[in-house]
Assembly symmetry: D2
């Protein structure tokens, strides 16, 4: 899997490394805790991915990629946010980059938040949805990745 | 495809016969025009199936299976309903059965409305969801059927 | 109160006459059973008026004013509709008029459905909201009518 | 008006003092920026109060009363939050109290967030709604206060 550059992981004692994710579909929700569309759409959708697919098939991760209001969206604030919004999946705090955009966000070519990124079993990025994408389409895309043969 | 016993088809000049549906995924929304859950959930979901998948991959059909208030939900009333709710996909009016339940509904073992029924390319019924089923799960199921090899 | 010309009343054994409504605020929801905006907005709002204000202060009535698809929205169909949507307040079936528009609708100068009409204690029409009007504004208007002195 | 003990005001250059509020209805939305019910219900309702009533009749204020996760909900974070959620009305940052509950929140006997508090023209607290209160009821209550005679 294209590396997540995390300065810290929340909601997990054993942050997933590239090897842990090999052979699994990975859905990453890139968000900012003070981004209204992330709160109303992106994060609830990530929760629904988790409810719909089995954990052994699809791993759901959050990526807190702050590119504005850095002083407001600190890891301490994020911890409180995850608690209040009952978000239980592992969340990586994206590492600072060279400019305002953090490093993973920049490496992955993300345009903003929320963005839902899907990786296949070989760790290749297969989808990158900025903004709102309907649940039905997401369900179809994830299933498509699940049914690909290993090695294909 | 398990036969739809229609006394009439609306929204189409050429009702789909079993042969037309061979080789395609078919999603049938069984509903009653005065069923609140059909209006708020089932029919909008059927519309979203149509928006998400290409017409050459998935055929969406309605099945008006009236098992109560027969005098209120006549074909004439259904026509006005489809017009007002802008439902454009073909809708079969289920044939009367021996009791209050119409014939296709009874043949297919449906419990009530709304029910979303999915058929694979061989015309086999593969899912039958009574009540509310989340969009994400439906998207996954349809994709799974789409990716099955013919003859498998 | 400006007369409701009803060919029939549903949900009541004792249709309210002008004298019964004297001295009360009356909220009339004019609707058609196959009008999507009536189902999603107008009728639920009428239900909330009933839940918010006491029955001795505000009387909520429905007015089924059919001006299109007359053959689909018959009193028999309306009865089934009210049952399925659990609408319990009295509903008048508007009398046929000279053209497609029924008589009360025409007398009151209504533009379409849904329309919420408010009458004060003297039976004067004080508001006529065609389309969507926010709950907060409706709550304010009804309270304003309630607090008017009799005879003012 | 019962005094707001503010350590800071946001969204205004001239914080309203008790004298400024005399003779006006005041609606105060007590909230915490990381409280989900405040984001989904309380603050949008405060915005709707502003849209429904004229500014010369009803003054809408926010009160950021943090009683948990103090380290996350700092004034700096609040500033970013108000910007992202497009909240334009003046917001007081409640002063620290003796325990975890801030001072105004404690003085006013608030149970949690969100709470909508209504003051009449004499500055008397007339309503205190903890949790969700329907828009229609709020509209009615505000109108009731507006129609009270001065001095009554």
């Amino acid at each position: 899997m294209t590396l997540i550059h995390a300065q810290e992981w929340l909601n997990t004692d054993s942050p997933p490394g590239p090897d842990d994710l090999k052979g699994r579909i990975v859905a990453v929700e890139a968000f900012q805790m003070l981004c209204p569309g992330c709160v109303s759409h992106g994060l609830p959708q990530a929760q629904r991915i988790r409810q719909t697919f089995r954990a052994e098939d699809v791993t759901v991760l959050g990526l807190h990629s702050v590119f504005e209001h850095h002083e407001a969206m600190t890891p301490v604030a994020l911890k409180a946010f995850l608690h209040e919004y009952r978000i239980r999946f592992p969340v990586a705090v994206d590492m600072p980059g060279k400019g305002p955009m953090p490093r993973t966000m920049s490496d992955w070519g993300l345009e903003g938040t929320p963005t839902l990124i899907l990786f296949d079993r070989q760790g290749r990025m297969r989808a990158r949805h900025f903004g709102q994408v309907p649940d039905m389409a997401v369900g179809g895309e994830i299933m498509q990745l699940m049914l690909e043969r290993e090695g294909s």
